[in-house]
């Protein structure tokens, strides 16, 4: 078999392909069914957020962050406000911190649910996609109640959050938690034991921890190799050191581990949400933030654990109310780097399985 050489074929996957989750184009060079080279082409969704931000006040940038990783906009909001608050040493009211944690973890669950749905859809399973959307819809509706938008939340402000939770909202979240557990159990029954699914993801796209670290992977893409690296635990920010939760890690670093880690992480997020709902104190939700946010001159870097990995914000301030330079360290962007080397030598059909498991959002890749 191996000595039969066929003519090389160059093929474009994307930019308009349902499995590329946005406008990603992968130029693959094929020898028969085998990929001999792959080159991701990005930038179709590049809006120049970083350049635009140089002309905007810090609070005005928050709606722009919504549009980066649009599946986890709360986390993006937080990454920016956290960076600025760190730079200015602002004190955040307790209740605001708890509300932030609750919405961030809910958003992480929503994002992971969507990953599971779309990933299985990529692999040919239609119904999980519909099931996860039912639960995600409930999260999205809760966000709609607390901040008035379903996707682009613009909820956090420098110094706190914009709205307090409406009456009964916390109870609603509490009641929602067991519901997600049920759905996760259902997904487990539906998919995790399925032989076709297992054949398609087990041992596919595997790499080890050293490769992952060298390529600056983060999030589940890093943890699937067995490395316990979660900024919520390793470099605690906000109030994450008050919660009891585990960092699930994989063993083989393959697509199956990445899939199962999404399920396991949702469970941990649910635990955090439960604890936060129990502990949340009363009080104000907006601290004493100056009207014009002017971080002292200097450069700052801070990072949080986003839904897809480490979401960092580097900014240079010149003491004005607009950043001199703002740079987002987007996890999807860096996670996608390893794709060409993962694809080399693989069967063409595995492209979808591997690409899907990287869990990218093109809004974030291109920024």
């Amino acid at each position: 078999m191996a000595d039969i050489r066929t003519e090389e074929m160059l093929m474009n996957v994307g930019p308009q392909h349902p499995s590329t989750h946005g406008v990603l184009r992968v130029v693959v060079k094929l020898d028969g069914e085998t990929i001999i080279d792959a080159d991701p082409v990005i930038g179709y969704l590049h809006r120049g957020t970083e350049k635009l931000a140089e002309d905007l006040q810090y609070n005005q940038i928050i709606p722009y962050t919504d549009r980066m990783d649009y599946l986890a906009a709360m986390l993006n909001n937080y990454a920016l406000v956290h960076a600025v608050e760190e730079a200015m040493d602002l004190e955040i009211p307790e209740r605001a911190e708890y509300l932030r944690v609750i919405v961030m973890e809910l958003n992480r669950i929503a994002s992971h649910l969507l990953f599971i749905g779309t990933y299985l859809l990529d692999l040919g399973a239609m119904s999980p996609f519909l099931y996860v959307f039912q639960d995600r819809e409930r999260i999205v509706q809760m966000f709609n109640e607390i901040c008035g938008a379903r996707l682009t939340y613009n909820y956090m402000r420098i110094g706190g959050v914009k709205w307090d939770a409406p009456p009964g909202w916390i109870d609603k979240v509490k009641a929602f938690v067991p519901h997600v557990r049920k759905t996760m159990g259902m997904l487990d029954d539906l998919v995790t034991g399925n032989e076709i699914f297992l054949n398609r993801v087990k041992g596919i796209g595997a790499y080890d921890a050293d490769t992952a670290i060298a390529h600056s992977l983060s999030g589940i893409n890093l943890r699937c190799t067995g490395l316990k690296w979660d900024l919520r635990r390793n470099r605690p920010y906000s109030i994450y050191d008050r919660f009891d939760f585990d960092i699930p890690v994989g063993e083989n670093g393959d697509c199956y581990d990445r899939y199962i880690l999404h399920l396991k992480e949702m469970e941990q997020s649910l635990r955090i949400v439960e604890q936060a709902c129990d502990q949340i104190p009363d009080g104000p939700v907006m601290g004493k933030a100056p009207k014009f946010v002017r971080p002292p001159a200097g450069e700052y870097f801070s990072a949080i654990e986003g839904a897809r990995g480490e979401l960092g914000v580097y900014f240079v301030s010149d003491g004005k109310d607009k950043p001199y330079r703002l740079k987002f360290r987007r996890p999807s962007f860096l996670n996608l780097q390893l794709l060409p080397s993962l694809l080399k030598g693989q069967n063409m059909a595995n492209l979808i399985a591997i690409l899907g498991a990287v869990d990218i959002v093109l809004g974030e890749v291109d920024c």
């Binding site: 350049k51 390793n234 200097g298 330079r325």
Partner: protein, 267 residues
């Protein structure tokens, strides 16, 4: 007063080519002048904290801001830590780390400052022991030690920080480029992290704005590949030794580098 406001609005309009502002008759020279003035001011104010004396042994003294910052932030941080310890979640990692670090008493300003200073001194001493005269400046940028490295030694120092026993900053956390037209250079910064201790140091390098070139970090950190491509694309920094230096965000036939401060889309 109304006059002023309207000017403001119209200036905004003229900047925004998409908005259909038919009521605005703004003298073109005026807004341009305004813009120029403000950008000059930007450059000026950025100038002051940036002129760091090369005497590397005194971190955190070049500007009063870091001093003022921690003093304010100390109380809430300590409070939070106490609250965290009281709960079953376990002791805060940072506290444990700082205690283990040097045995220094981390009492006044901020508990994070002492370990950061110790780290700065330690890493600086080790770099200087191996590569004398490559560190042009060293300072604390909000608890992250930052070293300004000479361009020729950029990759060597990065490799040293990555591989050397006891340092082992194996994880390239982020890279960013910034344009400083007033000072005439473009700065590239890289944050390196030790996993799993989560200790981070930053290194940066400066290249002249005209024909900026910096040795590529890809042979040391493969993860720098796309970050460097992005910096090349948006700021025009040439990374010597990069295996695949192409534009990544903008189309291949694009002219200019958008993140430069003097970029104009109509060139």
């Amino acid at each position: 007063m109304t006059e002023d406001r309207r000017d403001d609005r119209e200036a905004k309009h003229s900047r925004d080519s998409g908005a259909a502002g038919e009521n605005g008759m703004v003298p073109p020279g005026r807004t341009a002048g305004k813009d120029a003035a403000s950008s000059e001011a930007v450059a000026e104010s950025v100038d002051s904290p940036r002129t760091v004396p090369p005497s590397a042994g005194r971190p955190g003294t070049e500007s009063s801001d870091p001093e003022a910052g921690p003093a304010k932030g100390a109380a809430p941080a300590a409070e939070r830590k106490a609250a965290g310890a009281a709960r079953p979640a376990g002791p805060s990692k940072t506290a444990a780390r700082s205690a283990a670090k040097k045995g220094e008493s981390e009492s006044p300003p901020d508990p994070r400052e002492a370990p950061a200073k110790a780290l700065l001194a330690e890493v600086l001493a080790r770099i200087q022991a191996t590569y004398p005269d490559v560190v042009e400046a060293a300072e604390l940028t909000k608890f992250i030690p930052m070293f300004l490295i000479k361009r020729d030694a950029w990759r060597d120092v990065a490799a040293y920080l990555r591989t050397e026993e006891g340092l082992a900053f194996r994880y390239l956390e982020a890279m960013a480029g910034t344009d400083y037209p007033k000072e005439g250079y473009i700065e590239v910064v890289a944050y390196l992290t030790r996993i799993p201790e989560a200790i981070t140091v930053g290194i940066k390098v400066r290249a002249p704005r005209e024909a900026p070139a910096v040795p590529s970090l890809v042979p040391v950190f493969p993860g720098a590949n796309w970050e460097e491509r992005e910096i090349y694309d948006l700021l025009g920094v040439n990374f010597a030794g990069h295996p695949d230096l192409r534009r990544i965000m903008m189309p291949d036939d694009w002219h200019g580098h958008p993140l430069r401060k003097d970029y104009s889309p109509f060139d």
